[in-house]
C-alpha cells in the first residue's frame, strides 16, 4: 500500500455569508413604475427596448423607464438611488 501523506489545502478564506431577504412583491404590475436597467452589454439596449415594447402592448397601465448605469460592471450609486426613490420594481438585463 502506498504511503499516505498530509498536505496543505491551497485555498484562501471565503467570507461569511449573511442571509438577506428579498423585497416584498406587489400583487401585480398594473399601474406600477418598473425600471428597465440596460447593463450595457453588446445589444442589451435593443433587447431592453423590445421588452419595453412588450410591456406597452401587454400591460399598458404599467410605466417603464429605461435607465443605464454610468459604466458597465461598476456600481452606479446615483442610478441605484433613482431606482429606489422612484421605482416599484426593476428588471436588469442582459448580463451580470
Amino acid at each position: 500500500m502506498a504511503d499516505r501523506i498530509t498536505v496543505h489545502d491551497p485555498r484562501g478564506f471565503a467570507p461569511k455569508v449573511a442571509g438577506k431577504r428579498l423585497a416584498q412583491r406587489h400583487p401585480s404590475l398594473e399601474g406600477k413604475l418598473v425600471y428597465l436597467v440596460d447593463c450595457l452589454f453588446d445589444n442589451s439596449e435593443v433587447f431592453m427596448n423590445e421588452l419595453k415594447d412588450w410591456f406597452a402592448q401587454h400591460i399598458p397601465s404599467m410605466k417603464t423607464v429605461m435607465i443605464k448605469p454610468r459604466e458597465s460592471w461598476v456600481d452606479d450609486p446615483d442610478m441605484r438611488a433613482k431606482v429606489v426613490a422612484n421605482g416599484d420594481a426593476a428588471i436588469l438585463g442582459v448580463g451580470l
Partner: protein
C-alpha cells in the same frame, strides 16, 4: 446580478436577465450574497448581432433554463408571494481546513485536479515541510493577511495569508527566495485568473535588484521558459490567483470563452542594464534601487515588428490602431530597438510613449464601433468625461486618438540577438506597481 441584489436589499423587487450559459454563475453569485432565491430569468446565448425581431422572439419564447415562458418568469419573479426561503435568505460559513485528509500522492494529485486547484501540469504537493521551507523566504509571519482577490468585480472577495501564498508557491515549484515577489503580486489585488468571458491573462514585469538576486532572465529568451525564476513565478501567480480568490472553474468562476495560453504564466524582467532609458518602475514613483512588480491584465492581442526601419512610423501605427481600442498596449522591445529609438531622438521612454499616444488614431466611426468602446467608454463620453466626450462629437471620418499616454507602457527586455519588438495587450491596473522589498 450584483445590482439586482442591492436593489432587493433596498426594498425594490428585482429580476436579473442573463443568457443561459451564465446560469450556474448567476446562481453561485446569488448564493454567495445570501440570496439564493434571487429571481433570475434566462434567454438563449448570444444576443450580439441578433436583430430586434430575433430578440423579440427570445422574449416571447421559453426560458431555456426553467423551460417556462420567459415573460411568465419575469412577471412572476416580480409579483409572486415570497416563501420562507425568500424571507430569510441563507447564512453560512465556508471554512477550509488548513490540511487536507492524508492520502496517497496519486490520490492527492487527482483531488487537486478534480477541484481545479492546478493548471493540469504536474505540481509539487504542498507538504508542511515544504511550506515551512518556503516561508523562510520572507520575514513576515505566516498568519499575516496579505490581501483579497476575486475572479471579477461582482463576486465576493476572498482573503488570504502569507502561508496560503507560500502553499501555492510550493505547488508551482518556486524557490523560497521568490516568495517576496509572489507576496507582492498577491497583495496587488489583481488576479491573474479573471473570470472575464474575454479571457484576459495576467502579465507581470519585475524591476530592480531582485531580478538579479533571484536569477531572473532578461536576456536571450526573456519572455520564454528559459529561467526557473521566470517560469515558476509566473505559474505561481496564476495558481495562487485561482486558489486564493475562490476558484477558476469553467462555467462558475471562469467564463473565458477562448481561454488564454499566457495563463500558464507570463512574468518577465526588464533588462535595465542594457536599456538606454531609466527603468519602467521609475515612471510610477519608485527609485531605480527599489524592487517592484507591475501587474497588467491583457494578453488577448499581440503584434510584432522589427526595427525601427525607414518607415517605422507606419508599421507602429498600424499595430497600435489594429489593437482593441479600449485595451492598452504593453510594448516590449529588445535593447537594440530602444537604442535605435534614442538615435532617432527619443532619448526618454516617455517621449516615445507620447508620440504613440499622439499619432495612433482611428476614424471616429471605426473607434466608436468597437465593442468595448461602446460598452465601457461611450457611457463615460455621454456623462461628459474627457477626452471621450470630445471624441464623441467628432464627425464619422474625423480621426480620434485611440490611447492616452498614461495607458501605454514600454518595457525593454531581451538578449540583443535581433532588433525585435512586440505589442501585447497590457492594461496596467490602478496602483499596481507594488514594492517587493516590503515583502522580504
Amino acid at each position: 446580478m450584483g445590482l439586482a441584489l442591492e436593489l432587493e436589499k433596498a426594498g425594490i423587487p428585482s429580476i436579473a436577465i442573463h443568457t443561459h450559459v451564465f446560469a450556474r454563475l448567476a446562481k453561485s453569485v446569488a448564493t454567495a450574497n445570501g440570496m439564493p432565491t434571487a429571481r433570475q430569468a434566462f434567454v438563449p446565448q448570444p444576443l450580439v448581432d441578433k436583430s430586434p425581431a430575433d430578440l423579440r422572439a427570445y422574449i416571447e419564447g421559453v426560458d431555456p433554463i426553467s423551460k417556462r415562458p420567459f415573460m411568465q418568469e419575469i412577471i412572476e419573479g416580480l409579483t409572486s408571494a415570497l416563501n420562507d426561503n425568500d424571507l430569510k435568505g441563507m447564512s453560512f460559513e465556508r471554512s477550509n481546513p488548513r490540511f487536507l485528509e492524508a492520502d496517497t500522492e496519486d490520490n492527492l494529485r487527482e483531488l487537486f485536479e478534480q477541484n481545479f486547484w492546478t493548471d493540469f501540469l504536474p505540481i509539487i504537493l504542498p507538504t508542511e515541510e515544504r511550506v515551512n521551507a518556503m516561508l523562510k523566504g520572507t520575514s513576515h509571519p505566516r498568519d499575516e493577511i496579505v490581501g483579497r482577490l476575486s475572479p471579477t468585480a461582482f463576486r465576493e472577495d476572498w482573503e488570504f495569508n502569507v502561508e496560503q501564498v507560500a502553499i501555492n508557491a510550493v505547488m508551482a515549484g518556486a524557490k523560497p527566495e521568490y516568495l517576496p515577489v509572489l507576496l507582492a503580486m498577491a497583495s496587488s489585488g489583481v488576479t491573474a485568473k479573471s473570470s472575464s468571458t474575454t479571457s484576459f491573462a495576467g502579465i507581470g514585469v519585475i524591476n530592480g535588484p531582485i531580478r538579479n538576486e533571484i536569477g531572473m532572465n532578461c536576456g536571450i529568451g526573456a519572455t520564454g521558459p528559459y529561467s526557473h525564476a521566470n517560469a515558476t513565478i509566473g505559474r505561481a501567480w496564476n495558481l495562487l490567483s485561482q486558489n486564493l480568490q475562490g476558484g477558476s472553474t469553467p462555467g462558475d468562476t471562469y467564463m473565458g470563452t477562448l481561454g488564454n495560453p499566457l495563463s500558464y504564466g507570463f512574468v518577465f524582467a526588464e533588462n535595465e542594464e542594457a536599456s538606454p532609458w531609466e527603468p519602467m518602475h521609475v515612471r510610477y514613483g519608485f527609485k531605480p534601487t527599489d524592487s517592484t512588480v507591475t501587474v497588467f491584465r491583457g494578453g488577448r492581442y499581440m503584434s510584432s515588428g522589427f526595427g525601427p526601419r525607414e518607415h517605422w512610423e507606419d508599421k507602429m501605427l498600424r499595430c497600435l490602431t489594429a489593437a482593441d481600442a479600449r485595451q492598452s498596449p504593453l510594448v516590449i522591445m529588445d535593447p537594440i530597438v530602444a537604442r535605435l529609438y534614442v538615435d532617432k531622438g527619443y532619448d526618454t521612454r516617455q517621449k516615445l510613449v507620447d508620440w504613440m499616444a499622439a499619432n495612433a488614431k482611428l476614424p471616429a466611426r471605426e473607434y466608436w464601433n468597437e465593442m468595448w468602446v461602446q460598452t465601457l467608454i461611450h457611457p463615460l463620453a455621454v456623462a461628459g468625461v474627457e477626452p471621450y466626450a470630445t471624441n464623441l462629437k467628432a464627425k464619422p471620418n474625423e480621426l480620434v486618438k485611440v490611447f492616452q499616454a498614461h495607458e501605454i507602457n514600454i518595457v525593454v527586455t531581451g538578449g540583443e540577438t535581433q532588433g525585435a519588438w512586440r505589442i501585447y495587450e497590457g492594461t496596467r491596473m490602478k496602483n499596481a506597481t507594488v514594492s517587493i522589498d516590503a515583502w522580504r
